[in-house]
């Protein structure tokens, strides 16, 4: 057993974006709230809090999961990646770059969830069909930008990935972006 009932706080040790954290948590604390409030990693957004919107998607041991559908105490001994681990303002992740280049975000609330869902998808897909892309986006809701440009961003990121060109040079440029 990992604890006694008396204190009802559990020590956990986990890795987030490569950094080890040790905390004590109440069992009912959702992983999403732990990331935001305890670790101050507020890039993980909380939309519906019941597993529908996908805004809180993170990587758990490399797999995309919803952080509002896990308790923080369950992340003990696991490795987590959040949007903060993807890139920096100076050096964006290729997906973030593709989102920027295709105007795939407007208010940006849903974006971290989309990005984290797409990281494993891109690792497995070089040249996905539109249907595959739309299925991959199915677990994330956007309520303002619309999905068309997000689909476009995935296509662009894949194209650049195929060309080993993460910086938007050459053929990877958005059609119509430069005349």
């Amino acid at each position: 057993m990992s604890t006694t009932a008396a204190s009802n706080r559990h020590p956990i040790r986990l890795t987030v974006n490569g950094e080890v954290h040790e905390r004590e948590v109440e069992p009912r604390l959702l992983l999403s709230d732990f990331l935001r409030h305890d670790l101050r990693l507020t890039g993980t957004h909380v939309g519906c809090e019941h597993g529908v919107c996908g805004a809180c998607t993170i990587l758990l041991d490399g797999a995309a999961v919803r952080s509002c559908l896990m308790f923080a105490v369950q992340s003990h001994d696991h490795e987590i990646e959040t949007v903060e681990g993807l890139g920096t303002a100076e050096a964006l992740h290729p997906l973030q770059e593709a989102f920027r280049d295709t105007h795939a975000l407007q208010c940006g609330f849903c974006t971290p969830g989309f990005l984290m869902s797409l990281v494993p998808f891109l690792a497995e897909h070089d040249d996905p069909s539109e249907e595959e892309i739309r299925h991959a986006l199915g677990g994330n809701l956007c309520r303002c930008t619309g999905y068309q440009n997000i689909v476009e961003a995935v296509r662009l990121a894949c194209r650049r990935q195929r060309q080993g060109d993460a910086h938007g040079l050459g053929e990877g440029a958005v059609p119509g972006e430069m005349s």
Binding site: E49, R66, L69, V73
Partner: protein, 290 residues
Amino acid sequence: MKPAPFVYFAPQTVDEVMDLLRQYGDDAKVLAGGQSFIPTMSFRLAQPEVVIDLNGVEGLAGLREVDNGLHIGTMCRQRTVERSPLVARRAPLLAETMPSIAHPQIRNRGTFGGSLAHADPASELPAVVSVLNGRFRIRRQRGEDWVAADDFFISLFETAVGPEDLLLEVEIPDLAPGSGWAFQEFSRRQGDFALVGVAVVLELEGHVCRQARLALLSVGEGPVRAHLGEAALEGQPMGASLLQRVAEIVAHQDIDPPADIHASKDYRRHLAEVLTRRTLSQAVARAAAD
């Protein structure tokens, strides 16, 4: 939208789980993938005093071949089942169904046994495991039981797994030679709960149906077997007009679907008819190719 407080246990063995279940009984709930359970806790529809987390319990996540089929551990992730070459080869109906369950993010965490023990009438696995003649290995406080699918699903969110029991694994037997199978569902958006879904397994001898198993989801209090439709198929030579007649029997006699904000009763009957006809034709074609 925050769960009520509870006491948390993370046992490592099935014996420890059983001790905790005996000790706390109805006050305790086991936590598998949590993809349905944690939202109900967040909505405070469920407020268990004790949560027993199965994620660290040894030996519950296996997926292995046995002589007559597959044994899938209760904690085997849905994504693992979806991607298993073993499942694709020995239980193709299951492999075909898995991508219809919610989204990849849910299947990465959601478990095979968790979905079955939860027994949501809108979920795919209960209907599919029913037509596959699955069997459920349940650990009781005294001994173990193997329970057939027909006896496993009792009612809305109710199964043969009692408050002090634990579902250990599920057996998916091989299909008989000459079998055809299909699963189809309709939902408004990819990944949403289906308005109606149909799973079917047909055993053919030449053109004649020896045995049929047909189950629907989202039309009743659990997976709904279409016994009248099955009887209308058995002993009959397969043909388009028969399949259409069976689809009508299923939609108008076997089921009494609910009406809700998502679909009227008539619309669900319409979907059941269309999906039954389509799955039956697909199953017949597959059986012929077998």
